[in-house]
Subunit: 331 residues, 2 copies
């Protein structure tokens, strides 16, 4: 019996290996061309056993920025839109906000005025909306918002404002033995409630900015309280630090879209061997948004463009390289 | 052709599922009894689809302390032995250490005298031995030491002074869809160079204490410098914080051996549902070491023992529950 089973398995496996299967394009939303080729060639190289560029499965680490790389970030970071929404929800408990900036402007609908206070204003908004509850409570607040809120331009849930070509890229890399990580300047706890469902990236593979938490007993139950104090900023030089802290290996592929990603790409390339570094360039005002050096959100400076050219990092043109940007687009 | 292949695969899979296979004990180094049963019953419960205790694969997170839980920690933490070794290696570059404590005592072989300075003395030793180099350089220093140093009592490499029953437990849990993490008070970068080979736990699944790092260019190459500044202490209330920071989910099983693990076990249990909390008790002076409430290293206080009883945490007796402690033992 055992021998019959073994023979059948062997036969089935052999047939499976030799039956020609219609080759399916793993990146159907990418236009054919140099950019797509560079991805496919890189993956072929590092997965080919015996090749000088071969990388064992355990070391196939790929890191992705989130805002502007995996999902949209205009008209402003979605996490900021979440925070603004929370200010509205919490306002009845804070009558003093009516005369206190940045809240007074916000409650009048004057987002620009509220943000005129710069980073201290943003920090105040983040503190009142992101701290003072348990991690489990915050997770629920985020999950509820993300399930119901809609993008002002696309009129779709934010989790549909994700780039279909990048979702395909995540899946393609994983199918080739890669472990895919998000390494974002956004809040780690703001992303974790939905990244697994939306990108196939589980919470333990999300790296991001964080506030401090404190372990304590509340009503006899162990909880982590979210404190109004920055723990870590996962941006610019913080990205290699966060990668080392959470992953403990250098990536062999890294994807970003702004000045905040430069050090992550440098660090990835610095590991030597076959490496893939790519930057998404937002140059499609019709299907998405067009912005770059002049934008405060997702700045892609001329210096970054020069660095990309010098270091041979691929710049992805959303307009030219992506057949489709969002899954919801009409074909 | 396709249909023949499918049929054969289906047939092979069906036969594989129904052919009786000699049941192999996945935990051969554990004596039969209540402790071993509690493990097997827990795993059966959470992996049985349709059962009220079923846990999806993605949520099967198990966390393990390292010192005293996965490997030995006497006569002192192995990382401290590493640090003392490094002081000897570095001494020629530091003539001032001859008259400066805690180094003067250390260099005379008086470890007790050196450590009499308490935490500030230990901090000084850690700073000179763990900071001031790149992460890659530190990784090499650790890898070289761990490949050559031997345990003073067992005369074996430290990576052989690991508990065979726990190695089997790690593999058993993984075979049942668990993701296994180390959550240790020890240094994260001290563990990562060898945990994958020794325990099957990759760097990205290691949580530990850390010092700060700084991203910079050195000779035109991007590196992370290790700074003489504590970043995070992954002990006691720090363990749930570290778990949340790195994993982002509550474990459903947690294993420790000392007061430093109490909060990790509380936090795990606090998630509700089927949970497994276990504490290794060092009660075998013949095969390993016997210590507990009185020990400064790996303290297992009477309060922890009382908490274990109250909360129904299993206490593993090394003497009674483990048929074999180390793989190198004569049978």
């Amino acid at each position: 019996m055992k021998s019959l089973r073994s023979t059948l398995i062997l036969l089935a496996v052999t047939l499976a290996a030799h039956t020609p299967i219609q080759a399916q394009d793993p990146l159907p939303s990418w236009n054919d061309g140099k950019t797509k080729e560079s991805i496919v060639e890189f993956v072929a190289k590092v997965t080919k056993e015996g090749s000088p560029d071969f990388v064992p499965v355990a070391e196939r680490i790929a890191t992705f920025d989130n805002d502007g790389t995996l999902w949209a970030e205009q008209p402003m970071y979605f996490q900021l839109l979440f925070a603004l929404h929370r200010v509205g929800v919490l306002a009845p408990q804070h009558p003093e906000w009516k005369t206190k900036e940045p809240f007074a402007s916000l409650l009048k609908g004057d987002v620009k005025g509220a943000l005129a206070g710069g980073e201290p204003a943003i920090a105040q908004i983040v503190v009142v909306t992101h701290a003072g509850m348990t991690t489990a409570e915050f997770e629920k607040i985020v999950a509820d918002w993300i399930a119901t809120a809609k993008h002002p331009k696309f009129k779709r849930p934010y989790t549909e404002c994700i780039y279909q070509p990048m979702v395909e890229l995540l899946a393609y890399l994983r199918a080739n033995g890669f472990k895919t990580f998000i390494v974002s300047g956004g809040g780690i706890e703001f992303m974790r409630p939905w990244t697994e469902k939306v990108y196939g990236v589980p919470p333990e593979q999300v790296v991001g900015s964080s506030i401090k938490t404190k372990y304590e007993m509340r009503d006899g139950k162990p909880v982590l309280m979210r404190l109004p104090e920055i723990n870590f900023i996962d941006d610019k030089t913080g990205k290699p630090v966060g990668i080392n802290q959470h992953i403990g290996r250098r990536p062999i592929a890294a994807f970003g879209n702004s000045d905040g990603d430069q050090q992550m790409l440098e660090y990835t390339q610095g590991g030597g061997g076959a490496r893939l570094m790519m930057l998404v360039h937002h140059d499609d005002a019709v299907r998405e948004f067009a912005y770059g050096a002049e934008s405060k959100i997702g700045t892609f400076s001329d210096a970054l463009m020069a660095e990309a050219k010098k270091s041979n990092w691929a710049v992805i043109s959303m307009k030219d390289d992506w057949k489709k940007i969002f899954a919801f687009e009409e074909k």
